[in-house]
Structure formats: C-alpha cells, structure tokens
C-alpha cells in the first residue's frame, strides 16, 4: 500500500503540462474537453432550432415565402465551400499526425481561405437583405423591417415573415460568429504549425480545432436545408408541410 508512482521527469515532452502524468492523458483530456464543449454548443443551437420548429409550424406559408426570397445559389455555393473546407481540415489533421509539416501548413491555409470565402458570401447575402429592408425589427435605424420585396405565397400574411427573418439572422449570425472564432483558432494553429510546434507525438491542438471546425460545418449542413430549401416546393404547387 505504501508504493507511490514517481513521475519520470527527465523524459517528458516540452508540451506536457505539469499537472498531467503523460502526453496520452493530456491528449485524452483535450479531446474529451472539446467533445463536451461541442455538446454545449449543440444545446446552445437547440434553443433556436426549437423556436424554428415551433414558429414554422405556426406560420408555414410565411416561412416558405420568406425562405424563397433567400438566394439558393449563394446558399448552395456556401455549402460546397464548407464541405470542401472540412475536407482540407481533415487533411490538415492527417498531416499533423504523420508529421508532414509543409502539407499541414498548406491545408490549414486552404481551410482558412475557404472559411473566409464562406464569410464573404454570407456578407453578400446579408447586404442583399439589408437592401431589401429585411433586417428584423428596428435593428438598423432608418431601415425598419419591410416585407415589400418578398413574393408572398397565397394566404401568407406579410407581417409574420419577420418571424422567419429573425430566426434566419439569429441562426446564421450565431453560425457566422462561430466561423469567425474558428478562423481565429485556425490562424493560431497555423502560426504554431509554421513554427514547427506539432509533431506526430504532440498534435492534439490541431485535432481538437479540427473537431470544432467539423462541428461548425455540421451546423450549417442543418441550417441550409431548414432555412433555404424547406418550403421551396410550395411555390411549385405543393402543399405546406406541417
């Protein structure tokens, strides 16, 4: 009973923090930490998904009309951009694992560029909405919400299209904020990658950032159909879903 472990101080990796026994434990903690963080993120978005479900059920025609006003092209391009960025991110993680420094840096740069492209396209979309006075409420002085440019489906009440637009801006805005944070995070990882901090033994920050990036992509994969696609068929003679 009196035995106790003595930490092998002489061999430890420079990246090992003092309170961990070994790198393996540190890696495990980091990864689990990110997974748990992502669970909280899901809960964070779930509040908005719940509101979306409730109000879509309440105002299906209004939601369809407002959704049809979004640019399907820009949304689809953005979806592709994000899926490709997930691929380059996965490539970055792989290269970090096998220690290919140059490829790691290149795939990180690509991922960041794709992320910025997404945000750029999103900004164009927001600008269009601003021009059409579709920013909900009185967020922007002098540009009170006005559904004038929306082609209303028969039976849709104009004032309730605002319910769609606040949800649209709340959800895509929160998503864009996560993208901005992701780009910042990857920039830090890129900085350390260039300085050669990661090796096959220690590359957990790359992996964990990858997890975060994939998660943010995944949220978009849900947002795109919910906000852009659902209800398009009504214009073509379908009946609204409940």
């Amino acid at each position: 009973m009196a035995e106790s472990l003595v930490v092998e101080h002489e061999v430890h990796h420079p990246a090992l923090q003092h309170h961990f026994e070994n790198l393996e434990q540190q890696r495990e903690a980091g990864t689990l930490g990110m997974w748990i963080f992502l669970v909280t993120e899901i809960m964070f978005f779930s509040g908005m998904f719940f509101a979306y479900t409730l109000y879509r059920y309440k105002f299906p025609l209004e939601f369809a009309s407002a959704s049809n006003h979004l640019s399907l092209q820009l949304g689809a391009v953005n979806t592709v951009v994000l899926i490709v960025s997930s691929f380059t991110m996965a490539f970055a993680v792989y290269n970090a694992q096998v220690g290919r420094q140059r490829r790691l840096v290149i795939s990180l740069i690509l991922t960041i560029i794709l992320g910025l492209t997404f945000l750029g396209i999103k900004a164009v979309e927001y600008r269009d909405k601003y021009k059409d006075n579709l920013i909900p409420g009185q967020l922007i002085p002098g540009h009170k919400y006005s559904p004038a440019t929306i082609h209303l489906l028969p039976g849709a009440s104009p004032q309730h299209t605002e319910m769609f637009y606040w949800i649209y801006f709340a959800m895509t805005g929160m998503h864009a904020l996560h993208m901005v944070i992701g780009v910042g995070l990857l920039s830090v990882i890129l900085f350390y990658s260039i300085r050669g901090r990661y090796d096959p033994e220690y590359h957990n920050p790359v992996e964990v950032s990858g997890l975060y990036w994939h998660f943010v992509d995944l949220i978009w994969i849900f947002l795109f159909p919910l906000l852009y696609l659902l209800g398009r068929h009504i214009e073509h003679g379908g009946t609204p879903l409940h």
Partner: protein
C-alpha cells in the same frame, strides 16, 4: 369569518374547494407522517449511536438491495396515489362544463375588467350568483396576469393574444379575495379585487339594477356593422365573399390547406387579428387584419355576437377532413388549443 387567532385554511367557497382541501389534507397527513418518521429515526440513531470513544471504528455495512427496492417502490406508490388523485381533481378544475354562464375578463396593468353576458361591466369586482356554474373567458391587453380566487382554489394565467378559461361554482355567499398571481409590473400587488357571491335572486336583481349597458352580443353586432364586416359576411353572418358565420361556433371548419379546424374562441380571435392564418376552403385571403384596430374587449364583444348567431335550419356539421388529406391538425401551436 375567522374563528381562531390564526386560520390555517382559506375559506372554501366553491364546489372544487373541498376537493382540493381533501387532497391537501391527505398530502399533509402522509408527508407529515414520513417527515416525523424519518427525522425521528435520524434523531434516535444520532443519540443511540453517538461516538463514545475517539478511536472506535464501527463495522462497515454492506448495502441491501431488498431495502433499496422497498424504499424505492413504497414512495413511488405513495407518489402515484398523489398523482392519480391530483390529476383527477385537476381534470375537474380544467374541463369547463358545457352549460356555464360566460363572463369575459380582460386583464390590464393593473386592473381587472369584467363584462357579463348581459352587458354589466365591473372593474376589480366580480359579482356571481351562488350555485351556478360560471366560466371565465380571459385575455390580457398587455403582459401576463393570473386570475386567482383563493376561496375557490382556482387560478389561471391570463395571456395576451390568446384566450384561457377557468370555471367555478360558488357555494357560499360573501366577499372573497381576487388576486393577480403572475407578476405584472409596478402595481402588481394593487391588481386585486373582490369576488362577491350573492344569492341567485339577489344577483338577478343586481343584474337588472345595473342594467343600461348593452349586452356584449349587441355591442358586437354594432361593431360588426361599423367595422364593415357586413359587406363580406352579410348583415347576420349569412356569408358572401367571406365565409358564413351563422352557426359557425363550435363547428369544424374546412381549410384551403385541406385540414379542418374547430371554430372555437381561439380560432375566431385569430381569424380577426390574423385573417391569413387559416383560410376557409373555397375563399380567397382578402380580409384585412384588425390587429391594433379593435381592443380586446371589442374582440370579446364580436366573439359574443358571432356565438349568438344561429342558423334557421341547422345543417349537419361539415364532415371532418377525409383521412386522405394531410393531417387535420389545426396549425396553431399546441398551447393555443390548450384547455
């Protein structure tokens, strides 16, 4: 009113009050018994097994699945008895009887406005006869309130943009407290009043004595005309460019979406403030919204008018949607159909 220095129970003045009190006594008895039993056991153990020498180490125990099962099952069964009884009484509280006198209540910061179906209006008071079932149809002009009559053991939130209801049958004459129970701003504690229960005869006198007001239905009819509803719905709701209103209340209404909806207070209100929400099959969405143009009280009057319209030759109700059509769910939120 009060017999002792402290009264432990509020007056019980409705048919439901006794039932709630009986349940309360049962709960009090059972929980008091177990509270005393457990705390008694704890106190006994604490004294009996107090530490006698600083180094004594008692024998460790192994748990007992049998005991754990017993003290999981028994509380569960007792709890289920509370559940069954409580839900049973609750159903009686919530399900309004069909033949009840309706009284309209509008809550607003910080007063209760009441209108009887005969036209009498009151503020912060509610006169009701003993021994008759009264159903309150309630809405709010601003924030959430809650209409609470402790002596009747009833309470229900009063929400803006929606109707809620509750009912009671008073069993005792007298004056009872009326409180707003949902915090509603600065003068929340001033949003109180009294419920005055009278003998039916006295009540009828009170009603005629306070006459002079129009009934809500008559006032609603005037509104119906002055707001121009008649141009589409006809002078007596016989219909035209808009759907027929006569005999509408309580019927299933076919919608353009293929579903159908029960024409209740909630539906009629929605059709006035948000006419586009549910379009009756065969009609076009041409009706303008009246949101912001009529007050909650006027809405209630129009509602009373529509309810008063009957058809000369009652037809069969429109059959409900055939199973082939998309779900026959009303499109409102689940809460909207509550109660």
């Amino acid at each position: 009113m009060e017999t002792g220095w402290i009264s432990w129970l509020p007056e019980a003045a409705s048919t439901l009050a006794g039932q709630v009190d009986a349940l309360y006594f049962y709960l009090s008895g059972v929980t008091a018994f177990f509270t005393l039993l457990i705390s008694g056991t704890v106190i006994f153990f604490v004294i009996r097994y107090r530490r006698r020498s600083p180094f004594e180490i008692p024998r460790p125990v192994a748990g007992s699945h049998k005991l754990e099962t017993i003290w999981t099952i028994i509380p569960l069964m007792i709890a289920m008895s509370f559940f069954v009884w409580g839900t049973n009484v609750y159903f009686k509280q919530v399900k309004s009887p069909k033949l009840a006198t309706e009284v309209y209540v509008v809550g607003k910061q910080w007063m209760w406005k009441v209108q009887h179906s005969t036209g009498q209006r009151e503020i912060n008071e509610l006169h009701v006869p003993k021994g008759r079932k009264i159903r309150l149809i309630m809405t709010s002009e601003d924030t959430i309130h809650s209409y609470y009559i402790p002596a009747f053991r009833i309470k229900a939130d009063v929400l803006p943009g929606r109707y809620t209801d509750q009912w009671f049958e008073a069993t005792k004459t007298g004056t009872f407290h009326l409180f707003c129970a949902e915090y509603c701003g600065m003068n929340h504690s001033g949003m109180i009043g009294s419920v005055i229960v009278m003998e039916p005869k006295e009540f009828d006198n009170w009603l005629t004595g306070n006459a002079g007001n129009q009934t809500p239905a008559v006032a609603g009819q005037q509104l119906f005309q002055s707001l121009g509803c008649t141009s589409c719905h006809g002078m007596n709701g016989e219909g035209g460019r808009g759907p027929t209103l006569a005999g509408l209340f309580g019927r299933q209404q076919q919608l353009t979406t293929g579903g159908s909806v029960l024409a209740d207070e909630v539906y009629i209100r929605e059709s006035i403030v948000n006419p586009q929400a549910k379009i009756v099959a065969g009609f076009t969405p041409i009706m303008p919204t009246f949101q912001g143009q009529i007050s909650e009280e006027q809405l209630l009057q129009i509602l009373a008018f529509i309810k008063s319209l009957h058809i000369e030759n009652p037809q069969q109700p429109v059959p409900a949607a055939s199973p082939a059509t998309s779900p026959a769910q009303p499109r409102s939120s689940p809460q909207l159909n509550a109660r």
